[in-house]
Amino acid sequence: MNRTPHRIFPVHFAPDKKLVHIVVKLSDAPGSYSSILESLRTKVNLIGTATYTLSDGTAIFSGFAEALEATGTGEGLRELILKSGSALDAQVREGRDGLLIDTFHRGFTVDGDRYVLMRQGELVKMFDHVAQLLGSGGEALLYEEGVATGRWSADTAASRYGAGRVRAQAKEFNHLMTAEGMGDVDGQNGPGDGEFTVTVTECFECTGKPASRSGCSFMRGYLVGAAESIFGKKYACAEEKCSLKGKNSCEFRLTPKT
């Protein structure tokens, strides 16, 4: 299967549809999740769902859905869910005029870390504005921010998973960067001793071709910061190819500093 962006649902817009956001607190008994789905089967068309366990052993089911019955109400759905016997609690919120917004969740957590969800375009615009405002100095600033962020990110991973494990499985963390949306990241060793090359396809930083940018300074710095933290050496990084210059992907070569 091809990799695809993870679709999540803090908001959904479908004009002329009756939308509902269903949130259920589930018991940890086997089959409780399937029981909830079964109770909803004839009532809604699920658009996007998520389930996750909580520290108290219970779980949350959250689903955006289109109601199949025009006359049904959110309260009716809630009662149906509670009757299933698997729900400890439930809430159903109806959208307004085709617009449904998640009012249950407060931000995101990934493996214990809080994340801020922002449009890639917003971040790209912000970086572009820094470069527009500060010229080449803006690029240097973005590089420095990249180094600091990459180092912090790798330090956090090392403290959580163990520095040895992170070092031994450094390539696995390329997949994490990809899953986080930084681009399709692929690392290769060589050609020189201790050197490695990182290719980023659909690099988040230059997607959309920001007008004031000349390269991916943040990503270049991020890779330097992460590599320095993981391998305990100083690195220089050159962006040898960039999508901004008509290439299919961005390519970064990291070389240990002597």
Partner: protein, 168 residues
Amino acid sequence: MRPRLLLLILLGEFGLFVLATHVYSSLSPLSLLASGLVLESFSGFEGIAEGMNRKGRKAHAPAAIIGNSGIRHEFAFAVVPDSGKPTVVVDTELAVEDVDDTKVLKFYVKVFDVRPERAILCVSPKLSSRAAALANEYGIEVLEDEVPRRLLKLAEKAIDEKPNQEGS
């Protein structure tokens, strides 16, 4: 949009610049004025660089310096000895009104990246009070004059005041 006629006659110490431009666009005449002034300034710094090179200093105008980040920065003038570590970098900011703090910030981030011993910002007419406070905080030497061409003399004197230890 309407045609604009801009005639600039700038008498510099190193030559006469005449810039006559018909612009059929939305370009502001002020930006053209600033461009003309910047051209004059760069040209003036070239003369200063030539003079300093004759004295054995490694001066460049304009100067391109690669910073610690790997980014290439341009300055109006710089002295970069063979060691590669710049001793002095100079930039110009010319405007019709007071120069604001973003221009100081713009200069500072370049300075931060190339780490020179001295950083001089030549400003005409002058920095705003906020910009001046920022420059002071960042350790940037500021030269101000309402007449841009006078800045060249001030800059030359300032650069010569503390030639530092510049190994050739």
